[in-house]
Amino acid sequence: MAKRKKKEMTMELKRSKWSQLLASILVNTIYAMQNFPIMLLNSLLAPLSFLIVITFVSHGALLSVAIEGAFIMTMVSAGMALQADLSHLKNDMKVQDMVVSSPTSAFMYIAGMGISEIIYFIPNIFILSILAVLFIHVSIQAALVITAVMAIMFVFSIALSFLLSTFTQDIIQGWAFTTLVSTLLSTIPPVYYPITYIPMPYQYIAYLSPTTYAAQIAQSASGFLAISPMQFAIDWIVLILAAVVMFIIAAKKTRWREI
């Protein structure tokens, strides 16, 4: 009897999780680009800047490595952009309040927003893919490794983003977090060039960032960097661990409901 009643209640409105994902994609990417086309241009060019600088400075020698770096950084940028977007929607429009007081769960909201960031960066990934096909010749296997690394970096950075966004009280603070974290994840770590380019004591600092491990895996998979199988395994472990730990911290410490 109770079971039947429950069924009836859920029958009333079949809520679609797809709709909830679609909502974030529309709000955060499609409608935004429709109304502000400059965002599309930004998406095309954003992570290419470092690629261009490194390529010119190295007289083209590091082009291929830098392309791989740009792939990874696109995912980090996408994840970190989420932080500013979430903070804006939460603090300035109170959209997050409206969503909290609705059937959408924190997980669906973040998943939708995360996907929306990837969609936002699709033009960028497309350009990078063309460059990759033209300038780096990697095996399918290496391409899969790089994709996996990108996915892990993405999970890491959206978890970090969500965590930070729940603590921000204003978009200005949000931007500060985004810039700070992007610097920590992309400037010091050797994403666009091999770690061997960094003088010794500083290499240790680089190893504090998960992007270093991500880049190392990608670079060795495509043969730019020779590392021992042991090191390769360690890199994977650290990278996955970083993502998992960040995910757990985010899940525990983020505030869907304010305190």
Partner: protein, 316 residues
């Protein structure tokens, strides 16, 4: 389960030390319209946000239709919808896009969301602006778009935190009509600074001041809370009128307002008619009640120096 909204010793102290809610006890049926009124900083938004599962209380508990706002938040979130006080339509969406997105968040299919969006935009008379990017719209239209989003949903319990702030008198009256229609099968929890709004719409009114619930009841019940339930306004210049009982407030231009009992108001009216003096006699308005209740509490607080911690108990 009980179709009611219950707060038991509900309290909220923010991390800043601000005591926003102190011991709120409330038990109201979740049907019709409940209006919460109170001065700036009285705790209205804090209470609404706790009930709408956005904010965690620091003391006590609250349930909606038997579901606890903390333990059963998932169930409550299926039932409720809110327009936050500072909610704004996303500047890069149109009202139609905003309403559609909100409905998608509630799990509607895109097709149904579109349909419902068009209906509610029509209801709020903003079809004309449906496809205008909202950063180009006036404040009131933007506010209406948010209200449209929420009322287009299936939610049975709707929190509106100052929904009519910034609306022109006609739009406000239109929204009142919409709310009156809606209250037939939903519960609306409303906060407002427009006391006329509470007076016209609400089946029950709560007065909150300094985090305490000072009064709760229908308008008639609230009238009984204050000493004099009638107000006689005398417009005649130089009119000499002395009530047997009551208080006389003399305003500008010798405009007199007499707060008194129903009986004395009746007697005064007869006297004024005989004298041919223009006047009006009415039951005290919510504004007057509010002023009376809140002013008295502020005065006592000032006199006592220390604020008292205890709130009153009010039942359905």
């Amino acid at each position: 389960m009980a179709e009611s909204l219950v707060c038991k010793n509900l309290g909220k102290t923010y991390k800043t030390g601000s005591n926003a809610l102190r011991n709120i006890n409330l038990n109201i049926p979740t049907k019709g319209i409940f209006a919460l009124i109170g001065r700036n900083g009285a705790g209205k938004t804090t209470l609404v946000r706790i009930l709408a599962t956005e904010l965690l209380q620091t003391k006590g508990s609250a349930t909606i239709n038997g579901f606890d706002v903390v333990k059963d938040a998932d169930k409550i979130r299926q039932l409720i919808a809110i327009v936050p006080q500072e909610g704004r339509i996303i500047p890069w969406t149109t009202p139609r896009q905003m309403v559609i997105s909100y409905l998608l968040y509630r799990g509607f299919s895109y097709k149904e969301a579109k349909q419902r969006a068009d209906e509610s935009l029509k209801k709020l008379d903003i079809v004309k602006y449906a496809n205008t990017q909202s950063s180009h719209l006036s404040g009131g239209i933007k506010r209406k778009a948010l209200v449209a989003a929420v009322i287009s949903s299936e939610a049975k319990i709707i929190f509106l935190d100052e929904p009519t702030t910034g609306l022109d008198p006609i739009s406000r009256a239109d929204l009142w009509d919409v709310l009156k229609e809606m209250k037939k099968d939903r519960f609306i929890f409303l906060t407002t600074h427009y006391l006329e709004e509470a007076e016209r719409l609400a089946d029950k009114i709560g007065v909150i001041e300094d985090g305490k619930l000072f009064a709760l009841g229908t308008l008639q019940e609230l009238r009984k809370k204050i000493k004099y339930e009638y107000s006689v306004e005398v417009f005649g210049k130089g009119a000499k009128i002395k009530p047997k009982t009551g208080e006389v407030v003399t305003g500008l231009d010798e405009h007199k307002q007499i707060f008194t009992t129903a009986k004395e108001a009746n007697r005064l009216s007869k006297e004024l008619i005989k004298k041919g003096i223009r006047f009006s006699s009415n039951p005290v308005s919510l504004e007057e009640i509010f002023y009376y209740i809140v002013k008295r509490s502020i005065d006592t607080d000032r006199k006592n120096g220390e604020e008292k911690e205890k709130g009153d108990d009010y039942g359905a």
